[in-house]
């Protein structure tokens, strides 16, 4: 059974993703932000990380960079709902959703996904990231 770590600051999203992925046959752990996610990774390395990009405490792009650097085997899927936030280091006033996802990709994400998405979409993204058929 493949393991997934879901990093999202939104509890409802963490919970529903956990439900959806467990139903799809993954073992799922959750974290509320990038820092927490890294701690979780230190404890146990999952196969896949699904991380939000715009989060407080630690920005998703930074988290992806850190994960990709320290755990190169982990496959990463970045998800984003877009929008503009002034408190980010990435000047999102001018950065578009595509730009977030592009930044995530260049930081090391293997697949990217726009919120909101369907169950099928996330499973396909994981498949794309792991290089295995869904």
């Amino acid at each position: 059974m493949k393991s997934v770590l879901v990093i999202d600051d939104e509890p409802a999203i963490r919970t529903v993703l956990q439900r959806v992925l467990e139903r799809a046959g993954y073992s799922v752990r959750v974290a509320a932000n990038g820092a927490e996610g890294l701690e979780s990774l230190e404890a146990q390395v999952p196969d896949i990380v699904i991380t939000d990009i715009i989060m407080p405490t630690m920005h998703g792009v930074d988290a992806i960079k850190a994960i990709a650097a320290r755990f190169p085997a982990v496959r990463i899927v970045a998800i984003s709902g877009g929008g503009n936030f002034g408190n980010s280091d990435y000047q999102p006033h001018t950065i578009k959703t595509e730009a977030y996802l592009a930044a995530a990709k260049s930081a090391g994400a293997h697949a990217v996904l726009n919120k909101p998405f369907h169950t099928q979409d996330v499973l396909q993204a994981i498949a794309a990231a792991t290089g295995a058929p869904g």
Binding site: E10, A12, T15, I54, G81, G82, T97, P116, H118
Partner: protein
């Protein structure tokens, strides 16, 4: 006291003549009377001499009666009033000495000396054996009358001369002051702010001519300064107008950007809320047997969530957060035609959809699919503005150029202008100001999201195109979109972004 120059000249001329004319009169009277007197005396002497010679030569002297006859004859012929011949102390008088004029008894007579107005002359007659002299008296009156007449004529001539002199002085004074008066009028009109009149003087007087030239030079200088000032003022006004337009556009843009930023934030939150809705609904759907009413209900939840997602996407389009449009050089005409084809299928026959293409058109920088969306959106708006779906929606495509740039945008000197015009209800200024804001709508609550024009605005911003609206209540509305022409690219050569299907 102020008096005009002409009056002064006349007064001076009159004063001069008041001195000169009496002197002239006096001098003339002396000359005239002297010459008249000379003529008279000459006449008298000649007459007397002739008589004396007759007495000297003939033998009349021997006869007293003959002498009296000769004296009478002389008096009859020559204005005489008294004639006496004294021969050896014996006096022989003329019989015609009727007036009783008496010899004054003096030797040195002068003209006009005697109260009886007679001139006396005594001439010696030399004849052997006789000590004789001839005494004659002549009437002065004709001569003094003639002198008087001459002096009267002189007065008339002098008076006529004075009149002519005064008239000449007045005329000259007027002629002399006319350029000055003209100068005065011109300077007064300058004082009133009218600089158009020349100050040059057509005067033979050098000082006046020079004065006019100097003043004219001054006026030209003034006119130059004035025009420069006026131009500077106009330039300032134009600059202020440009500045105001720029500020308005900037403010408008800032407001839209603020709203866009806000909308982006809202979209993010929405997406975070929508994701659990979608995923939970899908989880539940998987557990509930298909065909049950709960299954159907959950499908409706998903459908609603999908519609909400569309709304969010529109918001993101407005906040320019929906991705980069694929800009390329396209020919607008087939794109607009495609949009019209789609739109015509959506409207009732009561709407008169007109179109005019004044091509050929150069290539413009745009995204074909998004352009179709823009045209459809504008047409739909026009259609909604028609009361009871009755009226005209007119779409035009034309080439435009403006050396100052479209709507003050210097980057857009030439453009292709799309206009969508309806003859519907129109909008007031307050509404027109806000139509590009998201969620602003004039339709009834629930009949639209109010995102149409804000989406149009977002799309056109990403093209670098400009949209303006011209509207008035009751007259209808015209949206005009200026698409910047892609320099150096020909539309026919440009890859026309395929013929896309229905706009996203």
């Amino acid at each position: 006291m102020k008096s005009s120059l002409a009056t002064r000249i006349v007064l001076v001329v009159m004063a001069m003549h008041a001195v000169v004319l009496p002197a002239l009169y006096f001098g003339l009277s002396v000359v005239v009377s002297r010459s008249q007197v000379d003529v008279f005396i000459q006449h008298v002497r000649t007459l007397s001499r002739n008589l004396a010679e007759e007495l000297e030569l003939g033998d009349a002297i021997e006869s007293r009666q003959r002498v009296v006859d000769m004296l009478d004859h002389t008096l009859l012929n020559g204005d005489g009033v008294y004639a006496e011949f004294i021969d050896n102390g014996q006096s022989i008088l003329s019989n015609l000495n009727v007036r009783g004029v008496r010899w004054p008894g003096k030797q040195d007579f002068k003209f006009g000396q005697l109260g009886d107005h007679a001139y006396f002359i005594e001439i010696p007659v030399s004849r052997p054996g006789h000590v004789a002299s001839l005494r004659l008296g002549f009437d002065e009156d004709p001569t003094t009358d003639q002198i008087q007449l001459a002096m009267h004529q002189t007065v008339l001539v002098l008076a006529a001369y004075l009149c002519i002199a005064v008239m000449l002085a007045a005329a000259w004074g007027y002629h002399f002051t006319r350029p000055v008066v003209r100068l005065q009028h011109a300077s007064r009109s300058i004082a009133r702010g009218d600089y158009a009149h020349s100050l040059r003087l057509e005067s033979g007087v050098r000082e006046l001519h020079d004065l006019g030239s100097d003043l004219e030079a001054m006026r030209r200088e003034l006119v130059g300064i004035n025009e420069k000032l006026r131009e500077e003022m106009l330039e300032n006004e134009r600059a202020e107008e440009r500045q105001r337009k720029l500020e308005n556009r900037l403010r408008h843009r800032q407001r839209l950007e603020t709203v866009g930023t806000l909308a982006g934030g809202v979209a993010h939150e929405f997406n975070n809320v929508l994701l659990p809705i979608v995923l939970y609904a899908e989880l539940a759907l998987a557990e509930i047997p298909a065909g049950s009413s709960a299954h159907q209900d959950l499908k409706e939840v998903l459908a609603s969530a999908n519609r909400a997602k569309d709304v969010v996407n529109k918001i993101l389009t407005f906040s320019r957060d929906a991705g980069t449009p694929k800009l390329r050089a396209i020919d607008l005409e087939p794109v607009v035609r495609e949009a019209l084809r789609l739109f015509s299928a959506l409207i009732p026959p009561s709407v008169d959809l007109q179109s005019e293409f004044r091509g050929p058109f150069p290539a413009v920088k745009a995204d074909a699919a998004l352009t179709i969306q823009v045209v459809m959106n504008l047409c739909t708006n026009a259609y909604h503005a028609l009361p009871d779906a009755q009226g005209i929606v007119r779409v035009e495509l034309a080439n435009g150029s403006d050396p100052a740039g479209a709507d003050g945008d210097k980057a857009m000197r030439s453009y292709v202008l799309l206009s969508v015009t309806d003859n519907g209800t129109g909008m007031d200024a307050a509404t027109a100001e806000r139509i590009f804001e998201p969620f602003f709508t004039t339709r009834k609550v629930g009949s639209g999201t109010g995102l149409g024009l804000s989406v149009v605005h977002g799309i056109l911003e990403s093209f670098g195109a400009r949209i303006t609206v011209d509207t008035a209540v009751g007259r209808g509305t015209s949206f005009k979109v200026a698409f910047p022409v892609t320099e150096g690219l020909d539309a026919s050569a440009a890859s026309n972004g395929s013929a896309p299907g229905v706009a996203a």
